[in-house]
Symmetry: C2
Subunit: 327 residues, 2 copies
């Protein structure tokens, strides 16, 4: 039975969405034992359904590095410690990304050999059923060439193990497909990857092409990766919204929409933004999933499902094997 720690506080919409997500998950599954950490008076609905751990403090978005380490009574810190102490197999939180990265790196620790963890998200693509792993999508806001190279290596290893696929295609995000394109650290990373003669390294790719279904792994610095991910989400939401508005324009379009409903349902299945439930800190010893700060219950549940699928996958084992430590 998987044991999953849940940081119930710190999200924009409060602990209610976390409670609902856990309850919804439990309605359909019985493979997970939840350890939910937060203000216990907000978690009463979970009594007898999950282990509730009281935490009186909340990590704030504004907390700096020192404050993050000092605030021992936060739900995030207590939930991370459940993972660090091997009580739980993984954690999901929608609190501050910076605090989550700091605590996970210091307490659950990097897999030996990994220099910096990257937030990895699997995005749906133009090819139904194919996903592109984008990393880093926001753990760092500044990366050097060596880190970009390692993000590419980690991504290849994760994708290979998760999808059991041997010929993974890895690209570097750039502002053009040509070798000489890119930000300064990207150009340097290109040369390092080329010199290492990795068969899986396929070169640069523009943001426009990265979801066309040919890219398995897209390595990028965290700042540009965050811009990429958020603009994909923003554009998908904007288009969904304009489409909906357009379909409500007149009686005729409403009738058309009703008849075309299976198509609209299919579109929603393929690109539903609320499905984008989380990003996994890759390179850490355990599965640490960051849900969106503004996740609703549906999105938080997807983040839970993502964490469970990562725990069930050989991701961590493969990364440990790659970097030479098997513990």
């Amino acid at each position: 039975m998987i044991k999953l720690a849940i940081d119930a506080m710190g999200g924009d919409l409060g602990s209610k969405i976390v409670v609902d997500a856990v309850l919804n998950y439990l309605k359909e599954h019985d493979d997970v034992s939840f350890y939910v950490v937060g203000k216990k008076e907000e978690l009463t609905e979970l009594e007898n359904k999950a282990t509730i751990i009281d935490a009186r403090d909340v990590m704030e978005m504004e907390d700096g590095a020192l404050s993050i380490l000092r605030k021992k009574e936060t739900s995030m810190n207590k939930a991370i410690e459940l993972v660090a102490d091997n009580v739980c197999d993984g954690i999901v939180s929608c609190g501050s990304t910076g605090a989550f990265l700091t605590l996970a790196t210091l307490k659950v620790k990097l897999i030996p050999g990994v220099k910096r963890a990257a937030l990895g998200t699997f995005m749906p693509t133009l090819v139904d059923g194919h996903f592109t792993l984008i990393l880093d999508c926001g753990a760092s806001n500044e990366n050097n060439a060596e880190q970009l190279v390692q993000f590419a290596e980690i991504g290849e290893c994760v994708y290979r193990s998760v999808y059991n696929k041997n010929d993974v295609d890895v690209y570097l995000l750039s502002n053009g497909a040509e070798e000489h394109k890119g930000c300064p650290e990207g150009k340097e990373a290109y040369q390092i990857l080329k010199n290492k003669e990795y068969s899986w390294f396929k070169g640069n790719i523009e943001a426009k092409e990265c979801l066309n279904g040919t890219v398995d792994v897209l390595a990028t610095g965290g700042y540009a990766g965050n811009v990429l991910l958020k603009s994909i989400e923003g554009t998908a939401m904007m288009m969904s919204s304009i489409l909906k508005e357009s379909l409500y324009m007149s009686l005729r379009t409403k009738i058309g929409a009703k008849i075309a409903y299976p198509a609209l349902k299919n579109l929603k299945r393929r690109i539903d933004p609320s499905k984008g439930g989380g990003a996994c800190l890759m390179g850490i010893n355990k599965v640490c999933v960051k849900a969106h700060g503004n996740a609703n219950a549906r999105a938080f549940q997807t983040a839970i499902e993502y964490a469970i699928s990562m725990i069930n996958s050989p991701m961590i084992a493969s990364l440990k094997e790659k970097y030479g430590t098997k513990n």
Copy 2:
């Protein structure tokens, strides 16, 4: 009568799309006199309709700075010189961005006081009829804080003059709305803008929110700006493609689509990616518009229309006034 220089070569789809775009434009308008530069044997359809200037060489994407300056016989160089020599009021090209920036900066020259030109694009937003000016969206691939600050200033001035709007809202692209978020140069730019106490500076904004209709100007470094712009385009194209595929799923959905056609037409009008015809180099003495490398005739025509609207606008005059030179 506006005189517009057209670099007919250097696009992915060859000179044919340029010829078609010019012919289509002339079918509907008679306010522009075109100076089309390229291999004359490819431009015969334009005889008696435009001034044709023969150029035997083409600027390649791979050309470095030295090679760009040496290749005097390229269509791009000859077209730029028409503008530098005041024969033409502006130029449209779908050739290499790097070469275009270099030649425009050296020959048409920066407006005195401007340190670096930025590629500015107006993007449609969630609010029908509202556009967000994104700059820089790819002229540079590395920018410092001072350049970001100037992009914000240029953007405010351009938006105010083009839309005759006094209270322009300018944001910095970031990985979060909070003041402490951002890449290192972005954080520094934030502090400079804050200290200058510009009433139009509204702080940081995430990529997800930048097209929600509240942002008039989005200032960003060229690398992240390019990622943002391209991912918006890529996502819009992907969603359009999945929607189309879904509407062709079955007879029922096809009938629904036919009935809902006015709604789909409205969606296309609002977000049509082929409309994204170009970006204007802002901060240069004349209007220099870069069309997409892979522009089709429709997109190139939109770039022509964009150039003409910028020539007709008080953009250049306002920038010259702002930076204290009126010539």
